[in-house]
């Protein structure tokens, strides 16, 4: 309850989609909820926009307390190249999740998970916003981990691990490489099929700045790249390829500078 009252500092609350996207099929929220597993990274953007629009209009508490709207906004945000639009989708995803919490969805780990994922996307390019929201991010991810550790192929482990990896470390922030390594190793072991689990674990091992880790870093990276290349990751694939490419470049530059 406290987290609801605290809210998310400084997010853009003006959503970018106010009208009905053209050509949407006739849908209602109940039907969307029943078929929600068909909506995901493989769905085309138009289908997601139509679904989000339906969810915006529903007053059905059984729908509003779920993570569906937040999850769909995350899919839209992750595939959006324009930063402003991406942040607005993510901010709307936070709104959906906060509504779900207000409607009694607090025991659903997915609500906390998609709230945190959207919030992270919405603030990551803004240092003051990111710092102001670190505590909220950590709390939501911890709740997601406690309630639903396995959703999205170990998403709560992956996200919380990444948060501890990327955040400023003690004493200035909550960043903690030991915690990051523990969570991301667990993500890799328990959900070995997700490419980003391997990428983040490789990044955490690399952060240890220990030559002895280099072969494991490369092995995790190679495994993640293989999974990404061979899997059907839909619209996520391009964005994830960029993440991998950036780390490969960082690794290459570091190795060159050591020679």
């Amino acid at each position: 309850m406290l987290s609801l009252m605290v809210g998310c500092a400084g997010l853009q609350r003006d959503h970018i989609l106010t009208g009905l996207p053209s050509g949407c099929p006739s849908q209602n929220a109940d039907a969307l909820l029943a078929e929600q597993n068909q909506l995901g990274p493989l769905s085309d953007t138009h289908a997601l926009l139509c679904a989000v629009n339906v969810l915006r209009g529903t007053q059905d508490p059984a729908v509003r307390r779920t993570a569906l709207g937040s999850r769909l906004c995350l899919h839209l945000a992750e595939r959006e190249a324009n930063q402003e639009k991406r942040e607005k989708f993510a901010a709307e995803g936070v709104d959906f999740a906060e509504t779900a919490l207000a409607q009694g969805g607090g025991q659903d780990g997915a609500v906390h998970y998609y709230l945190a994922a959207n919030l992270g996307l919405a603030v990551r390019e803004h240092i003051t916003l990111a710092m102001e929201n670190l505590g909220r991010l950590e709390r939501e991810m911890k709740q997601a981990l406690a309630l639903s550790p396995d959703i999205d192929d170990g998403g709560p482990l992956r996200l919380l691990g990444a948060l501890y990896l990327k955040a400023p470390p003690w004493p200035g922030g909550i960043g903690d490489l030991d915690k990051a390594l523990e969570l991301l190793e667990k993500a890799v072991k328990e959900h070995p099929g997700h490419p980003i689990n391997h990428l983040f674990y490789a990044q955490a091992l690399w952060e240890e700045d220990d030559e002895a880790n280099l072969s494991q870093v490369k092995a995790e990276l190679a495994l993640g790249e293989k999974l990404l290349a061979e899997g059907n990751w839909g619209y996520n694939k391009e964005a994830w390829q960029k993440e991998f490419a950036m780390f490969v470049q960082e690794l290459g530059e570091a190795e060159l500078s050591r020679r």
């Binding site: 390019e125 803004h126 240092i127 003051t128 710092m131 102001e132 990327k166 400023p168 470390p169 003690w170 004493p171 200035g172 960043g175 903690d176 490489l177 030991d178 952060e207 700045d209 950036m246 960082e250 500078s257």
Partner: protein, 278 residues
Amino acid sequence: MRKICLIIASLLAPIAAGAAPNPEMIVVCYPGGAVNAKDANGAMNSMLRVVERVGQWQANSFNSVFITKPDECRKQMAEKNPKFAITSLGLYLELRSQHNLVPVVQPRIKGRTSERYRVMVQKDKYKSLDELKGKTLGGTVLEEPAFIGRIVFAGKYDPASFFVLKPFNQAIRALRALDKGELDAVIVNEQQFGALGSLHREKPLEAVFESGEIPLMGVVANSAITTAEERARFGKALEGMCTDAEGKKLCELFGVESFVNVDAAVFEPMVKLWTEGK
């Protein structure tokens, strides 16, 4: 010190689009930091508008290169020959003659523009620094052993030969290792020392060594290629940072109360110690 460097660095950062015709390169040296250049640049970009407005510069007048390895910093200082730089105190002392460096501003934190370093051990395990001869010493500030030896230990101990040094890129990891008995001692700066109470520990710690007052380092300028006016303008912009509406928010975020004009005399004892230690 990490966050101080980051905020100062952030003030001078570029943003990718629409750079001024000839942006001035700022070399940002941050030895031992657990922040990578990409993260640092992200932080810097957010702060640029503030400093441009406060300093009344054309947008994107500065560019920067962010470095965490001392050797790379020396190389970049030589190659770029920057007008302004952000360095650790150790690198300033080492490079000051070669690059005609003069301090321009210092950060003020909790009313102070200086700090003390301390060597922490498990309580009652060691009585003095001398008892730590040949023992392991960890910490985030060990990337610059010459600075630790000449300035922090005032030339009385050579850390590289006296201790077995175990550099860490996160202080919390070094302190955990100390708590577990995997390290004999950890050297901490003022910020880390002040936050020890927030850490869960099995065993109480105590300081077996406390340094003298050591000035916090901020921005330095090459006095051979900057005018007094340029340095004053730069300093003024930074001094105004924490009273600007948006800049204040950023300063608060990083725990910096203000940036203050440097009294050069503050650094003279450091220069003396450094020179004597050669």
